[in-house]
């Protein structure tokens, strides 16, 4: 990062909120230490108010993103992959700084790029896969198709800073949802860099919002917020899942629990965050 002659310009890691990169309104931070206890970053410790602002941004962005054509959503996700690939070096460096071996870091970055490419391709296909024309017994044309659930809050895997996060963001995003994502506490650096990638990939501001901070502090907020339609939790802590599910009941939030690991590529992860709408129409002259 540094050369002999000049002082390196190091990066300030902030939140990604409504298409902007603000510091937490609370002014709080936590120290992220690297090898030999060097300070990697003062990471923003997002507050419930930051989360609230993020949900407002996500709700505002949702109608536009949900109405974006499937084809364009696919192009944008592919663009994310392009940008990610272009910044591969930076991501690898961050992953290494947070403890990954060079091989593992390279592998994680390429897997993340490929994952975005994979989901980019689903943008205009999962609808056909999960839709149906239903042969009802009355003179009606009846069909069912998936629609985005709305605003999704997600707690990304703790153990995987980039791939884990990408595997959560991509299926939410491609399905027309907007989201607020809590990044890994221990591996937050790639999250903000991924936010920069999203920001430069025509993902509209507010569509994905990324927070860094403490799970204990934010998970209850994620679960309780009445304007969040679904909650995806990657956790191996039974207590966390339980808390999320319990608090989510107040607005019948959909809770999708996962293990604390990257989600395997699957259109069923897209479907988890869709609602099926069935429409009836008479057939006559």
């Amino acid at each position: 990062m540094s050369t002999k002659k000049r002082l390196a310009v190091s990066k300030t890691y902030k939140l990604y909120l409504g298409g902007k990169f603000p510091r937490t309104e609370s002014g709080r931070y936590y120290e992220l230490k690297g090898r030999k206890d060097t300070l990697l970053a003062n990471v923003s410790r997002a507050s419930r108010k930051d989360f609230r602002n993020a949900v407002v941004a996500a709700r505002k962005a949702w109608s536009g993103w949900a109405a974006t054509t499937a084809c364009l959503r696919g192009q944008i996700l592919y663009r994310v992959a392009e940008m990610l690939e272009g910044r591969a070096g930076q991501f690898e460096e961050e992953l290494r700084a947070q403890g990954a071996t060079p091989v593992a870091a390279r592998k994680e970055v390429t897997a993340s790029v490929d994952l975005f490419v994979h989901y980019a391709g689903w943008s205009d296909k999962y609808q056909s896969l999960f839709s149906s024309v239903n042969p009802v017994a009355t003179p009606h044309f009846n069909f069912s198709m998936p629609e985005s659930t709305g605003v999704v809050a997600a707690v990304a895997p703790e153990g995987s800073g980039l791939l884990g996060l990408s595997s959560v963001v991509a299926p939410i995003l491609v399905g027309g949802n907007t989201s607020v994502i809590l990044a890994s506490h221990a591996r937050p650096l790639c999250a903000i860099t991924l936010a920069e990638v999203l920001n430069s990939s025509d993902v509209p501001g507010g569509t994905v919002n990324i927070l860094t901070g403490l799970r204990d502090e934010l998970l209850p907020q994620f679960a309780e917020h009445m304007d969040v339609n679904a909650l995806l939790v990657c956790s191996d802590e039974a207590g966390e899942t339980r808390l999320a599910q319990e608090r989510a009941a107040e607005n019948v939030k959909r809770v999708i629990p996962h293990a604390d690991a990257p989600l395997a590529e699957s259109p069923y992860h897209i479907l988890d965050l869709q609602e099926i709408k069935t429409t009836w129409h008479p057939v006559g002259v």
Binding site: V136, T138, N142, W280
Partner: protein, 509 residues
């Protein structure tokens, strides 16, 4: 025919001398022209077998629960039968029976064979459909025309539909293998007692699960009679268990640790409790909860059919329908016309004996529900909405409520926000499509909605903007086993019916 019917004639009197029927003076109240209603046309009930007392159906046997509850006919207040109230030990026993059946027979049985049991059950239901319709009407108060022409045909069709899926699950989930979940606990409501049993049982059984079903306290009889048919169809013992009781029984079933999946249809309040109860257990659940559907009439709608759709939307089954079109939005240019026509149509609804084949509006399901409707309607009056009720006379015995509409409603009125679950419609007007969509979506619910317009492109635009699971365009309250049903937001989680209705009952590998 009630008084308001004269409205259409605007004072014109029947005056042709030649039209006078020969009966002369002293005409019966049932006279086709002069009378105020049609002669009684009761559905015969002499072929119905109903016992005085029913036991719980557990592990293929009829087990007596010591505590008894009575179920009454809401149209008369008379006791129809007594049923058992399953306590915790009975719930244990039922779940254990289901577990044993799951492990020993049902999950191991080839899908093709499971399907044949369901086909056989569908046939038995068809054969005894009329009897079941009569019992449904006696126990729940719904018009026989509905139980006979809607509920029962759909019940049989539902079993028929899912019977066919039993050996085709490998085709339902691309790239995945579907495995049954195990023991399913199902708690169903009183508004469509047998139909909800079918909606719950058919997909669960087709997918290889075994079931403990708890019907509602006020309407247990058809589920128990269905258990008799299941016995008659030769299902292995324990595959289906039917336990009766009130909320506590349901709660014990839902909370039972050996239940792998819960399926519930009922109020949003109870649904939330179930969701909390199941938190952290890893047990799956689907919920079909309340609704407050918007029925939107644009000024280019087929008005006369729209009026019919409004009536069907809110007065079907006395409005005891979670997807009822309880909020009406009329574009202002045709609002007066629609309300005038609606009132006139409401006067022609025949209210009374649910067993009468001409009855359009039956009895309110219970005293408790009647009270709830009254309280909400009173609050609507107090809040300043204008109340109008049709002129039918209410029977003296039993629980009844007149078809009711409110005009001059505001979005903030309780009658606009709360689910009334009765024959009560809140009417609002709108000017622009954006306004209609915004108000339609301005609710925590999202089960269903209606859109009426002659313009196809407008239909697709508006239906795609309404956040609800079932959208009826130029029709309302249509159901079919092939058509998925279920809500967005606080109206529930998951779908029942169709291909999508299989997912809640399988684990994908």
């Amino acid at each position: 025919m009630p008084e308001g019917q004269k409205e259409g004639a605007a004072g014109a009197k029947p005056k042709s001398a030649r039209a006078k029927s020969a009966d002369g003076a002293g005409k019966s109240r049932y006279d086709f022209v002069e009378g105020d209603r049609y002669a009684p046309a009761p559905e015969s009930s002499d072929h119905v077998s109903l016992r005085d007392s029913y036991q719980l159906f557990i592990g293929g046997e009829w087990v007596r629960a010591p505590r008894r509850i009575e179920t009454i006919n809401p149209a008369t207040g008379e006791v129809l039968a007594e049923v058992g109230e399953a306590g915790p030990r009975m719930v244990d026993r039922a779940v254990a029976a289901a577990r044993q059946a799951y492990e020993k027979t049902w999950s191991e049985m080839p899908g093709r064979e499971r399907g044949k049991y369901l086909f056989r059950l569908a046939r038995l239901i068809q054969e005894r459909a009329r009897e079941f319709a009569v019992v449904e009407t006696m126990d729940g108060g719904k018009p026989i025309r509905e139980s006979r022409d809607i509920d029962l045909p759909l019940v049989a069709a539902h079993f028929f539909y899912y019977a066919g899926w039993a050996d085709k699950l490998d085709y339902a989930f691309p790239g995945r293998r579907a495995r049954p979940l195990g023991v399913v606990g199902q708690v169903i409501p009183w508004n469509f007692p047998l139909l909800m049993a079918a909606w719950k049982l058919a997909p669960a059984l087709a997918c290889g699960n075994t079931v403990v079903l708890k019907p509602a306290e006020t309407t247990p009889l058809t589920a128990l009679k269905l258990a008799e048919l299941i016995e008659e169809a030769g299902f292995p013992p324990g595959v289906v268990n039917v336990i009766t009781g009130a909320g506590k029984t349901g709660q014990n079933l839902v909370r039972h640790p050996d239940v792998d999946k819960v399926a519930f249809t009922g109020s949003t309040a109870v649904g939330k409790l179930i969701q909390k109860d199941l938190a952290g257990t890893g047990r799956r659940f689907t919920l079909e909860l309340g609704g407050k559907a918007a029925n939107i009439i644009f000024d280019d709608a087929p008005v006369n059919q729209a009026v019919e759709g409004i009536v069907n939307g809110i007065f079907f089954n006395q409005g005891h329908v979670c997807c009822a079109g309880s909020r009406l939005f009329v574009q202002e240019g045709i609002a007066d016309t629609v309300v005038r026509k609606l009132k006139r149509r409401m006067e022609t609804l025949v209210l009374g004996d649910p067993l009468d084949k001409n009855t359009d509006v039956g009895a309110i399901n219970s005293q408790e529900q009647l009270e709830r409707i009254r309280v909400l309607v009173d609050s609507g009056r107090e809040e300043g909405a204008r109340c109008w009720q049709s002129g039918q006379k209410l029977p003296r015995k039993g629980f009844w409520f007149k078809p009711t509409i409110f005009t001059e409603c505001a979005q903030s009125h309780g009658i606009v926000q709360k689910e009334i679950f009765g024959p009560v419609l809140a009417i609002q007007t709108f000017r622009t499509p954006e306004e209609a969509v915004e108000k339609a979506n301005n609710t925590p619910y999202g089960l269903s909605g209606g859109v009426w317009t002659d313009k196809g492109s407008k239909i697709f635009k508006i239906t795609s903007q309404i956040r609800a699971g079932v959208l009826w365009a130029n029709t309302f309250n249509k159901f079919d086993p092939a058509s998925p049903f279920g809500g967005y937001k606080e109206s529930g989680i998951g779908r029942e019916g169709g291909l999508q209705g299989l997912a809640p009952y399988v684990e994908l590998r």
